[in-house]
């Protein structure tokens, strides 16, 4: 199990048997901050009856898209595939609902107006069905002279989210991740993106060092680097996360590694190899 320390931002692994049967205390190897891991409380009987079974890792989530054939539908299919979904496409509402019931699709994207059953009707039916409690519904709104008449919808007919045709891919990903926080980006980053992330991590560290020379020196000597520079490291991490694509951050820890490497190197330089190891 991997834990990120709230005090020094270090990420470390702990060897515990899951699910936990009782509280376990762990300490950060970097700054010593202790944390108690507690077992997740069991849900009251009946409350979780509609929750889906845990998803085996590697299996793609089922998604149903009900929309007319158009480039936007292709866009949804492509973007959902990148996010690890297996999209199934339908033109009519009835067929889409049938598929949702068959597969218990985790994500259902519905055009408001569909042939047969309307998207809004399907949304209400899904939300009223206890067996489909886990299905998240997103409505696609119809636009009429988008730049002249524009109002946020006040009734989503039970749906969890609402999108429009011009939605940029980044915004669409954000909405899907909001509904499925554990969703991963299946697109493999390019080598260039890894290099850029590494370089940015080095640049941020270089700025932190040059603007805080005294604190850095003291932090290295006293072993309090992460504590003394907590605010600067936090600013740096936020900036790093705003610039580096999710798919790269998901697979790497360049920012943390760059800091760790610098601290180790500097400790050895300042204290000598033996004392640095101690």
């Amino acid at each position: 199990m991997e834990i990120t320390c709230k005090q020094c931002s270090a990420t470390y692994r702990v060897n515990v048997q899951l699910p936990l049967t009782g509280p376990v205390r762990v300490a950060c190897p970097s700054c010593g901050k202790q944390k108690t891991l507690r077992p997740v409380a069991a849900e009251p009987a009946g409350a979780g009856s509609a929750a889906p079974a845990p998803r085996p890792s590697g299996r793609r989530r089922n998604a149903v898209i009900a929309d007319e054939p158009r480039p936007f539908r292709e866009f949804l299919v492509a973007e959902l595939s990148k996010l690890g979904f297996e999209p199934h496409v339908f033109e009519t509402g009835d067929k889409a609902l049938e598929r949702v019931r068959e597969t218990g699709a985790e994500l259902v994207i519905l055009n408001v107006y569909l042939r047969g059953k309307l998207g809004v009707e399907i949304s209400e039916e899904i939300k009223a069905d206890p067996d489909l409690k886990h299905s998240k519904v997103v409505l696609i709104g119809a636009l009429f002279r988008a730049n002249r008449f524009r109002a946020n919808p006040t009734n989503l007919y039970g749906a969890d989210e609402y999108i429009e045709e011009q939605i940029p891919a980044v915004e669409f990903h954000r909405i899907v991740r909001k509904l499925f926080p554990s969703v991963s980006d299946h697109e493999e980053p390019e080598p260039r993106e890894y290099d850029e992330a590494k370089r940015l991590a080095r640049l941020i560290l270089s700025d932190i060092i040059i603007y805080n020379a005294e604190k850095v020196e003291r932090g290295i000597r006293e072993g309090t680097f992460f504590e003394l520079l907590r605010a600067e490291i936090e600013d740096g991490r936020n900036y790093y996360e705003s610039r580096v694509p999710f798919k790269v951050r998901q697979r790497t820890e360049f920012f943390h590694e760059t800091l760790q490497h610098f601290v180790e190197m500097k400790r050895e330089e300042v204290l000598g190899p033996r004392r640095a190891e101690a």
Binding site: R199, L200, L203, S206, D207, Y211, N212, D235, Y239
Partner: protein
Amino acid sequence: MTFINYAAREINCKIVYYGPGLCGKTTNLQWIYDKTNPQAKGKLISLATETDRTLFFDFLPLDLGTVKGFKTRFHLYTVPGQVFYDASRKLILKGVDGVVFVADSQEPRMDSNIESLQNLEKNLKEQGYDLNTIPYVLQFNKRDLPTALPVEDMYRQLNYKGEPTFEAVAMNGTGVFDTLKAVAKLVLTELKKK
């Protein structure tokens, strides 16, 4: 964008000093301020913290003689150099007439120089400018430091379009006015074309 006040017969130009954190942008402005005739300058406004971080910008109005009967007034600005403050840098670039890129000669800051230059190019583009056409001067600052890279290496990595390049030690004023004169000349030449 140059602002011409016909009534007052005055031309106002904006020069931005750009570059990575702690490369000496504010030191350039401070030197210019200290060595300029009090009648020719306005107040130096500097928004900085006690650790020398320029939070938003420094601003120094400066009179540089007349062109065809018009008084020329240069407004010198710096940007915050730290990578985090990109939004401020974009704002300060609005309406720019000329740019001085101050590079830090220290070897460990070379990556930051390159990043900052790329950031300048990108931010100018976003504002509708092109680094290829805008009056632009490059300054290699901190030449007195023992860790300074050879000028040829720096030129190879930072030269953008064969722009005028100056070696400087802003702390003692070396190269500071040469840089300013060069960018002012380019801005005025550009102005005459229009």
